[in-house]
Structure formats: C-alpha cells, structure tokens
C-alpha cells in the first residue's frame, strides 16, 4: 500500500500576494507536521510566483511545488480539481489543507470524492490526538449552535478546509530553508466541463470588511435603507466600515457582498457594534472573533446581549446620533 506522508497546503495567491488564509493554513500545517513528524508542503498554482514560493518557505513550508497555470479567479474550477487531484496522486500527502474560500469550497468535496477519501469542511481547529495520532477535526455545526469533533481512522489523504481567521497566521522567518520545485500535472481537456464566461468583482468603496478595525453592523431591526446612512456616519467617525446580516441582504436594503456570517464574510475587528441584530448563531459565526462586541437593540431579551461585552437596550434611532455626537467629541480631545 502507498505510504502517505506530509501535509499539503493548497495555497492561494491573490493579486500577487499570499492570501491571509494561506498564511493561516501554514501556521496550522506547521503545527500538524511537527506533531506527526511529517514535512509541510505547499502547492502554488500561478505564473511567475517564485517570490511567493520563497515567502511560503519563510512562512513555514519545507517544500513548495509550483504549477504553472492561471490564477484561481479567472479559470474554471474543474481545472483546479483536476490539477490538485493529480498532485495528490503523485505526492501522496496524509493531509490536504485548503481554505473555506470560493475555490476551497469548490475543490475539497470533489477532491475527496475522486481520491475516495473523506472531507471536513469549514474546520476551526485541527489537532493530532497524542495517543491515537488521529487528526481531530473540529467544526461548527447547526449554524454554529454546536461544535463537532470528527476523526477518520482509515481515509487518506484527509481533505480539510479551514474557516478563515480560525488561527493566527504564520509569521515569516527569512532564515528558514526549503526547496522549491516546479511541477506539472497533465489535465485532459475532457475534465473541464463547460466554460467560465465571466468573473465579476463588485468593488466595495472604502475599507474591506476583513481588514476593518471597526465594523458597525446592521440587522433586520434597522428597518430599511435609510437607517444604514446613520450607521455609515458612525463608521466614518470611528474610522470603520459597515456590515450587515442576512435580513438586510434578503430585503434588498444592502448588497450581499457586505454580509457577515456563516454564508458571508468572517471578520475580526477590534470593535464590532451590532445594531438591530438579534444575534442568530449563523451571523455570530462571522463576527464572534471580534475583540469587543457592542450590542444595541430594542429587545432586552435579544440573544446578541449574551455575546456582547457592552449592551444598550433602546431604539437605535435615538442611540446612534447620540453615539456619533459623543464619539466625535471624545475623539477630538
């Protein structure tokens, strides 16, 4: 039987930079590799990415395989599924780590099906059990109401996607040494079914939610588009940006691209002000990593108060203007 050895990370390079999720995977992968005594390998697909490969070594990989190919955003996921399946067939890793990202969600289930193994999606913690040496996979289930821990005794490689921001990213150490190798995988034309016609990036003005230090988030309690102007102003005063829950998206008050939660973005600002948000677990999944959470809600029994550091029970239409005024005054001193 084939020997499976090594942790393989499927890296993502976005706009010429190693994606934050890849740095997080490198941090997890290094830890798992050390626990198992196995090397940490990374696969990068792209053009002219030798510099990025060196960075991945500095971030903890022992070996980087470069596949010359188009970037994720502009080509058909079938191509990546075929490439990564081919790479796994050759490299025989024991664990494959991907991000729970656009491409990771697409690749991981099919990779597992093709390799006749298992997949665990959206994990938030991975450790090796010290006795059994099994990979313990922790994932939120039931919208985030519960956590489940899984393990597989017989399947290799184990395909894992990690939720963004579950762990601190790896820090670079430029003295680290490692190998870089270019790598080819034959992909048959027939493995790509149909075509990708267009990729549209809807640019959001201002600070990206994932990078924001302050987020003012509105939910169904905001009641319409106008209320969000008030939140926008508070965000402006505090140097932050505005996010939303599912309801304002479903109602068409705000764009889907601002949605925070299980089906949207995962954020981790220093300050998260939740306004008119009940605190459904599916939303909290996207913001519970915030350093400080403030809840403003009319309903004193709203679940959000259980997950906040500071709470204010009252109508946001009175609270937000007063908060804006006071914050302006305090920040001017």
């Amino acid at each position: 039987m084939a020997e499976y050895n090594g942790i393989l990370i499927c890296g993502e390079v976005v706009d010429g930079k190693i994606a934050a999720i890849t740095r997080e995977l490198l941090s997890v992968g290094r830890k798992l590799g050390n626990s198992l005594g196995q090397p940490l390998k990374a696969l990068l697909i792209g053009k002219n990415i030798e510099e990025e490969a060196k960075e991945v070594i500095a971030l903890g990989a022992d070996k980087v395989y470069i596949i010359d190919g188009p970037t994720f955003a502009n080509s058909h996921p079938d191509l990546y599924v075929a490439m990564i399946t081919g790479a796994c067939d050759q490299l025989l890793p024991s664990i494959v780590l991907l991000g729970q990202t656009d491409i990771g969600r697409d690749i991981a289930p099919r990779l597992a099906a093709r390799l006749k193994t298992t997949a665990a999606m959206d994990c938030v913690d991975l450790v090796i059990d010290s006795e059994s040496k099994l990979l313990l996979q922790t994932r939120p289930v039931y919208g985030g109401n519960a956590l489940a821990v899984w393990a597989s005794e017989s399947c290799q490689p184990q395909i894992i996607t990690m939720r963004p921001r579950s762990v601190a990213p790896a820090e670079p150490d430029t003295s680290r040494k490692g190998q870089i190798e270019s790598f080819t995988v034959e992909v048959k034309d027939s493995s790509i079914k149909g075509k990708l016609v267009e990729t549209v990036k809807e640019e959001v003005a201002g600070i990206k939610l994932e990078d924001a230090k302050v987020i003012i988030s509105g939910g169904g309690g905001i009641g319409g588009t106008e209320g969000f102007e008030m939140l926008q102003e508070l965000a402006h005063v505090l140097g932050g940006t505005v996010g939303v829950t599912r309801v304002p998206c479903d109602e068409g008050w705000m764009p889907m691209t601002l949605e925070i939660g299980q089906t949207g973005r995962i954020v981790g600002p220093d300050l998260y002000i939740a306004v008119g948000i009940s605190g459904a677990v599916q939303h909290m999944a996207g913001c519970s990593g915030s350093k400080h959470i403030v809840a403003i809600n009319k309903d004193p029994d709203a679940h959000i108060f259980k997950e906040a550091d500071f709470g204010l029970v009252g109508d946001y239409k009175q609270a937000i203007p007063a908060l804006i005024e006071k914050c302006k005054a305090l920040l001017a001193t």
Binding site: R105, Q137, C249, T257, Q282, V294, F310, A319, K326
Partner: protein, 266 residues
C-alpha cells in the same frame, strides 16, 4: 426541462439558541419540543429555482429525500410549492450514512429516474453545514457542476449559471445534465399555496428501499461512514455583557461612548 431536486429534513435552524440542546453522551441534538423539523431552507430555495426554471421552460420537477419516518413531509412541502412528484429513500441500511453514503443513495435514485437535465441541491444542509452532497453527486454522475448558484437559465449550449463569490459573481455555461447547488442569494422560497397544500396532503409519497434503487448496502450506513463523530457539544460563550443605562436612550449612548473610550476601545 426535467429537474430533480434533492431535499433534506432538518431541525429548524431559526430556533432561538436557548432552545438548542445536545445530548453529549449520544452525540445527538435533542429536538426542541413543539418545534417541528423543516425542509432545509437552502433546499427550499433549490425548489424555488427549479420552479422558476419550469415556469420559463416547462418540464417536470421531481423531489428526492433520503430520510427516516416523517421525511415525506419535506417532499410534500416541495409539492405544495409546485413540484410535480417526489420519492422518499428510506431503508434501515441507510441509517448513519455520512455525506458520501447519502450522496451515493441519492445518485442511485437519480439514476433510477433516469431522464433529467438538471439536479439541484441546497448549498449545504442547515444541520451539519458541510456542503458536500451536491458536489459528490456530480462526481458520482460524472456530470458538470456549479456550486453556490444564485440564478440559472437554459441556453443553447446548456445551462448558464451565475455563481456567487465572496467579492461578486462568476458566470458559467455548462453542458446538461448538470448538478447545481443553490445559494441563499436566489431569494426567498415561495410559500406553499393553499391549493398546493391540499393536493400534497392527498398524495402518497412512494418510498424506495435499497433494493429498489440498486444500492449496495456495503456502501451505506454507519459502518461505511468514512469518519466518526467523536464529540458534540455547545461551545461556551465567554462574554459577559455590561448593560449601559441612562435616563434616556441618548444619555445611555453617550455613556456607552465614554465607556468605550475609557477602555481604550475607541
């Protein structure tokens, strides 16, 4: 256009967190009293997309669910929304199947139905939240796949699908038969019509057992599961909320700002 929609019965995902209980021993969720299970909301949205496609192109919608007693309710729900037909896949051998087992069972049922242009699934089930089954069905059928669809339309070359991405969207044109998983961006699923409820209530939903769909029992059930659930628990929510009060809401808000400043949060 013949469409097969795979649906699942789940615990109502909108129950308040306080009502959510688990039995850690049994590693099972304790269903809250008085709150019946529902059709997975993402699957209802898959039915919705199927209905929109049928309205434009004609054809037939068949609903499949793999589940135990009571699972016919979600098939009836889909029929009351406007689906034409449905089957429950239920056999003692199916119990404890993982996503790969479930996808295999559904694949076999899809193959039994035989004539279809499109298989639709919700993007994930609101219970285990994994998002595996639709993609595995596509692999089993060797058909084209687009995940996280917010819209689809029939075009000359096949099916044009708009796929949601974190920063926007992508448009694919794929050959049929295709498998598409449906995201919440499709919009609210329609409510069952009064007439739909009456006609669905009268329907007998046929049950297919392993032998009816040529399922190899060795590939399904708990014994075939590729991984084991070791633990299930409710995570501790660690925050302690300090309620800020005042004579008026505005006064409380001003105090809140001061507290945030004192704590050097702003």
């Amino acid at each position: 256009m013949n469409i097969i929609v795979c649906v699942k019965q789940v615990l109502d995902p909108d129950i308040p967190p306080a009502k959510f209980k688990v039995n850690s021993e049994a590693k099972q969720v304790v269903p809250p009293e008085g709150i019946p299970p529902v059709i997975n909301p993402y699957d209802a949205q898959a039915v919705e997309l199927a209905l929109r496609l049928k309205e434009r192109n004609g054809g037939k919608i068949t609903v499949l669910t793999a589940g135990g007693d009571g699972a016919e309710k979600v098939v009836k729900h889909a029929i009351s929304m406007g689906a034409d037909d449905g089957f429950v896949l239920n056999d003692a051998a199916f119990e404890g199947s993982d996503s790969f087992g479930a996808a295999y069972i559904l694949t076999k049922a899809i193959q039994k139905i035989g004539e279809y242009d499109l298989v639709l699934c919700g993007r994930q089930a609101a219970d285990w939240d994994e998002g595996l089954v639709g993609s595995i069905i596509a692999e089993n059928l060797s058909s084209s796949l687009v995940i996280l669809a917010e819209d689809a339309e029939l075009v000359e070359e096949g099916l044009k699908v708009k796929r949601v991405t974190l920063d926007g969207y992508q448009v694919f044109v794929v050959p049929t038969p295709a498998v598409v998983t449906v995201s919440n961006e499709v919009g609210q699923a329609r409510l069952p019509s009064g007439l739909g409820i009456i006609s669905a209530a009268r329907r007998q939903i046929p049950v297919w057992k392993a032998a009816d769909i040529d399922v190899d029992p060795a590939q399904v059930g708990a014994a075939a599961a590729r991984r084991k659930l070791l633990k299930l628990f409710i995570p501790a929510r660690e925050r302690k909320c300090e309620l800020v009060e005042g004579e008026t809401t505005a006064e409380a808000a001003a105090k809140l700002a001061e507290k945030l400043r004192e704590a050097r949060i702003i």
